[in-house]
């Protein structure tokens, strides 16, 4: 089945130690998103790729970076994780329609990041 895969499902890192989360998709969707979701809060958009074009949200800290080497893969790099970065990180994909509007997003299961 076509899907969005996130690895690992659980990640533990130390304060200040760089960490990379990965996302892959078999849907061949042109748009990929990263969201941060803290406990009892709604997902918060960090950035998205429209094809190869990177779109950062204005309030996304510089500590968060992303790479999309090809259509299928997208990575979230946290350069110096702080205690406040502990959260669920969600990857999602969607496909743009020919009129520029979008189809629904497909979400991965998420990676839960713990910062010690």
């Amino acid at each position: 089945d076509a899907m969005v895969i996130q690895n690992p499902r659980y990640q533990v890192t130390q304060f200040g130690k760089p960490v990379t989360l990965s996302c892959s998709q078999t849907l061949n969707h042109n748009v990929m998103y990263w969201y941060q979701q803290k406990s009892s809060q709604a997902p918060k958009l960090l950035f998205h790729y429209y094809d190869k074009d990177f779109n950062n949200e204005a309030d996304t800290p510089d500590n968060f970076q992303s790479r999309r080497p090809n259509t299928s893969f997208c990575f979230l790099d946290i350069r110096s994780p702080g205690l406040g970065d502990a959260a669920m990180y969600l990857c999602a994909t969607s496909r743009t329609r020919s009129d520029g509007s979008y189809n629904e997003q497909f979400f991965g299961p998420g990676t839960r990041l713990t910062v010690l």
Binding site: V4, Y33, A42, P43, S101, Y102, F106, F107
Partner: protein, 111 residues
């Protein structure tokens, strides 16, 4: 920035129909309305999407009035497994690939 407003929580009983309304007063002409369901520790799951009038699929119906400033998700005959958070999303013109989740509605289905 198109924002959505939903009730924070709702209670229901098994077998009842549940209607969750979302306000999106600044929705753009080209924008669609999409609803997602999220269980704890899982990614959101698409429920239904619509542009105007009524859309129905195997799990829900979506009612959108002519002015499109609100929408109502209707879940027929809910069960305990429908206990989840429900989000409505609209895009953020001019970039319709961007979405911002509102606070969502926590639906609690009781036996």
């Amino acid at each position: 920035l198109a924002k959505t407003t939903q009730p924070i929580s709702m209670d229901s009983y098994e077998g009842q129909e549940v209607n969750i309304t979302c306000s999106h007063n600044n929705i753009a002409t080209n924008d669609y309305i999409t609803w997602y369901q999220q269980f704890p520790s899982q990614g959101p799951r698409f429920i239904i999407q619509g542009y105007k009038t009524k859309v129905t699929n195997e799990v829900a119906s979506l009612f959108i009035p002519a002015d499109r400033k609100s929408s109502t998700l209707s879940l027929p005959r809910v069960s305990l497994s429908d206990t989840a958070v429900y989000y409505c999303l609209v895009g953020d013109p001019p970039d319709f690939n961007k979405f911002y989740f509102g606070s969502g509605t926590k639906l609690n289905v009781k036996p």
